[in-house]
């Protein structure tokens, strides 16, 4: 193995480590956290749109029903998140990386 090869291997390893470190420390928790926040906001939106799903009558549910054909992904994800969510602490705990 030539010196040039060894330097190249070293640089490749270093690059991988740096990328991993950056991903783990900065980009991953950041987007995950923001995305969780976005999901929370979306849950708020869905709840405001369809409170009658929980037996709360809403003056606009007649109109928000019109949104349903466009809300396939959101609706499914919303339901799943509601099943998953045992407590607020459990949900909020996700954002911390111990």
């Amino acid at each position: 193995m030539t010196l040039a090869d060894r330097i190249a291997t070293f640089r490749a390893t270093l690059e991988e480590w740096v990328r991993g470190l950056y991903h783990g420390m900065i980009s991953h928790p950041a987007y995950e956290k923001i995305e969780a926040e976005a999901e929370d906001a979306e849950d708020g939106f869905m709840l405001a749109c369809f409170p009658d799903a929980f037996g709360i009558p809403s003056p606009v549910s007649y109109y928000t029903a019109e949104l349903l054909p466009y809300l396939e992904d959101e609706y499914e994800a919303w339901e799943r998140r509601l099943w998953d969510r045992q407590s607020v602490i459990e949900r909020k705990g996700h954002q911390y990386h111990f």
Binding site: A38, G44, F45, D52, P59, V60, Y62, P69, Y70, E72
Partner: protein, 325 residues
């Protein structure tokens, strides 16, 4: 410029009679007129002895007069069916059932009926161009007042919804660090587009109600009717929709002076009480009494309707304002 005139009031005071008579008066004044009944128990058909449907239909025997009866029940069903069709063409089979339940629920909430009625209201207002005057014969006080206060309430709701949606999309976009694909994008979001469209409709309705609409309350000279009218005036005022005038219907006719006997004495006494009440109405209400109509022995229809129309002084002052535009 189309002007919209609403007649409201307690049940059974004769709103249909008064609004039909007013419609005739408008036609007499050379205005192309549309009479819209929003009362689920339609009686325009009885007044004109003709069946009316969901679309404007010319009234036989009166040139320039059309009528239309809104059936909220039917509107709700149509809305539901339309959405269901859209669902099955856009959603995967697994989701259709889930969403179907939600849809059924939304159409059974207490507000659905009003929302449907309101929708049709707005539709009538938007397509009112061929008419100079649209006369609404509304359903009894409570539900109509709620209906007319809707645009503002709904606008606020839609605003809140749009705000929430925007915030979540914004966060999704921010979460897409680097060259990741965001889960939702703001541009061309169908939900936001749909909400915006709704919002514009409500704004339109609110504007029309504030700028091009006149409200009249029909009442009878009795205690209950006076009280309910007072409440209605306040409610409408609160919604920034001031009442232009009161129409007092079903006044007892006075017997001839030479007449004596039980019937005549009864009538005289009634007339005296009603005169007191009428004076009280004129004194206590800030809204002027624009017409008083005597009660009729028979049902008001046909030629009697024209007599009633002649007693109405509502139209005269309004035409002036229309023609001066």
């Amino acid at each position: 410029m189309t002007e919209f005139v609403f007649f409201g009031g307690k049940g059974g005071v004769g709103k249909t009679t008064v609004s039909s008579a007013y419609g005739l008066e408008c036609v007499g004044g050379g205005l192309e007129t549309l009479l819209v009944s929003t009362d689920p128990a339609h009686s325009t058909a009885d007044v004109f002895d003709q069946e009316f449907g969901d679309e404007p239909q010319p009234v036989e025997g009166y040139d320039g007069l059309s009528a239309l009866e809104i059936d909220p029940e039917q509107e709700v069903q149509d809305h539901l069916q339309g959405l269901k069709r859209q669902l099955s063409s856009q959603l995967s089979a697994a989701m259709v059932n889930e969403v179907d339940i939600q849809l059924e629920m939304a159409h059974q909430t207490p507000g659905a009926y009003e929302a449907a009625l309101f929708d049709r209201f707005v539709e009538v207002m938007r397509t009112a161009d061929p008419y100079d005057r649209v006369v609404f014969d509304t359903s009894p006080t409570g539900s109509t007042l709620r209906l007319l206060a809707l645009p503002e309430l709904l606008e606020r709701w839609i605003d809140r919804l749009m705000d929430k949606r925007e915030r979540s999309i914004d966060l999704y976009e921010k979460a897409a660090i680097g060259n990741r694909e965001p889960r939702r994008v703001m541009d061309g979001d169908p939900i936001l587009a749909r909400l915006q469209e709704r919002k514009e409709r409500f704004e339109f309705a609110g504007e029309v109600l504030r700028d091009d609409a006149a409200f009249y309350l029909v009442m009878n000279p009795d205690e209950l009717s006076i009280r309910e009218t007072r409440r209605s005036v306040e409610t409408l005022e609160d919604a920034a929709l001031p009442v232009r005038g009161l129409v007092v219907n079903r006044l007892t006719p006075e017997p001839e002076p030479h007449e004596e006997g039980r019937g005549a004495r009864y009538l005289r006494q009634r007339v005296a009480t009603e005169r007191d009440r009428l004076e009280r109405i004129e004194r206590e209400f800030a809204v002027p009494v624009v017409a008083t109509i005597e009660t009729r022995v028979e049902e008001v229809r046909g030629s009697i309707l024209e007599e009633v129309a002649a007693e109405l002084e509502v139209a005269v002052e309004d035409e002036g304002s229309v023609q001066s535009r």
